[in-house]
């Protein structure tokens, strides 16, 4: 749909000066990380027009977001009856540029529509509104799907942590397996599974640097010297990532590049860890003052 220079058969808020009021999108936030299977889009709409607000309250008008992705032929509508709209988009259904169009639409057909704040040109005119008609234009946007998704998916799709055989001391890595298996001692595994630790996002950089990174370095080194590992699913995933991601252009897997490739696959875990620690220290210092 195009809105620039376009006139509808009835007054539409947000189109020229058809109707007095406000219609816009205050905020679009994309969360790529907290859910491995879905992008979570959080939108805050702003609409100010007494007649349209009443229609929203009566549920005869809804905020509408249309998603359009040319790269995966994905096109879908999402409705919201409040100005805060949360949309879950399956990551397997979009890539590259995903376009967004925001409107307020009528979900009922009715006659004699008038808006008390319409331009005087519309005075005394009443309009038939159909189900799906646009009542307000709030704007458009887009997001780029793909890069962070691959980063997140890369680790969990080829590596996992399990409980080892011994009570203490274990840190074993199994490569002869579809996924790289990290086996921790029973005591360590119990602590890892504690939701305050293992599921705590604030601990992620510590895990990535102290457990995942050395494991990946070991796995990649073994991959360069043991041809038998190349057919493992985890190895295929890694080779695919190296081939498909712009980050790795010009980099091939050999002994000289293992450390660099490991860091890139994990999104520079050492840097992230030190950034987190630095931030925590500076925050603590400020509080003390």
């Amino acid at each position: 749909m195009k809105f620039d220079g376009f006139s509808f058969p009835h007054p539409v808020l947000g189109i020229k000066d058809d109707i007095e009021g406000v219609s816009s999108v205050d905020e679009i936030k994309l969360d790529e990380m907290s859910n491995s299977d879905n992008y979570i889009l959080n939108i805050k709409y702003k609409l100010s027009n007494i007649d349209l607000e009443e229609m929203i309250t009566k549920k005869s008008a809804f905020f509408h977001c249309e998603l359009n992705c040319s790269s995966t032929l994905f096109r879908k509508s999402y409705l919201s009856d409040t100005s805060h709209h949360e949309i879950w988009i399956p990551k397997d259904y979009v890539r590259d540029k995903v376009e967004l169009l925001f409107t307020l639409i009528s979900t009922h057909a009715f006659s004699n529509y008038q808006n008390s704040k319409a331009h005087c040109d519309f005075l005394n005119f009443k309009f038939d509104i159909d189900n799906g008609d646009v009542l307000a234009y709030l704007g458009k946007g887009y997001f780029i799907a793909g890069i962070s998704y691959h980063k997140l998916k890369a680790v969990s799709s080829f590596m996992e942590i399990e409980k080892g055989e011994n009570e203490t001391g274990d840190y074993n890595v199994i490569l002869d397996n579809p996924k790289i298996l990290i086996k921790l001692s029973k005591n360590d595994y119990i602590k890892y599974c504690d939701s305050r630790i293992g599921k705590n996002r604030e601990c992620a950089t510590i895990f990535h640097s102290s457990i995942v990174l050395p494991t990946l370095i070991h796995a990649l080194y073994q991959l360069t010297i043991n041809d038998d590992l190349k057919d493992k699913s985890w190895a295929i995933q890694i080779f695919n990532r190296l081939d498909n991601d712009e980050l790795f252009i010009g980099l091939s897997l050999n002994e000289d590049n293992i450390l660099k490739i490991s860091q890139l696959i994990l999104g520079m875990p050492i840097e992230r860890l030190l950034n987190d620690l630095y931030f925590q220290l500076n925050t603590k210092t400020d509080t003390d003052n």
Partner: protein
Amino acid sequence: MKFQNIFRTEYVEHLRRGVKDGSLIKYYESDTFLYDNEKILQFPVEYYPENIKLIIPNNKSNYDFENSKIIYESYKSLTPLQASDIRLWTYLSHIDYFEYMSKRWPSIKEHSAVNPSKYILDHWFIPSPSQSNFLRHGIAGLWWVSYLTYDENRTDHYELTKVIYRQLDFATRTLGTYSLARHKEAVFGILEFILDNSLLFANNFEAKSRYITKLINQLGGIRPLSYFEKDYFKGILINAKDRIGNI
């Protein structure tokens, strides 16, 4: 079971450059495509479907509908994200289904292509993942048309796929190129209308199908088409039956 092979990105680019500058065109005149085995990767999410044979086109038919069904059934587990990977389709069109490609798009072997480079690039390659590029590709097009028209609520899930393949251009240049084709309900509505009104479309199919596609597309200028379900689109076309009949 082994994983599906695909070409490496750099190799796809190498082939594309060779077709553009003409140095590799002779490879497309052979019965099999000579390729560098070192430039293969395994696709980590899809197993190689074994014993898949596409029907080779002949003077009677291109068998587009039949082959679309075969390709979609063979690669049904692909997600749209996986199916947007151009390395997969480039590999399939050059290796697994090269014989089919040479017969379906014979102008290179017959030396009749006005612009051989463009002809090969259009059908064997996908320059970037986009709707029109996928539909134009010799193998990707077969998968995506079935993906857009496959209706699990019908006894024959491919009943509407058969309708879209009634005329070659309908899938690749008419309905398939509009963004309304991304909305399955719109596609189902249009195709079901054609199916239910076979007499109406017995003649001038091309002109009529263009007309109804444009009609629905124009609606998209004032209403968000993805909001509506199949019966809405069918209703629009039912109301326009007289006008369609006059074409």
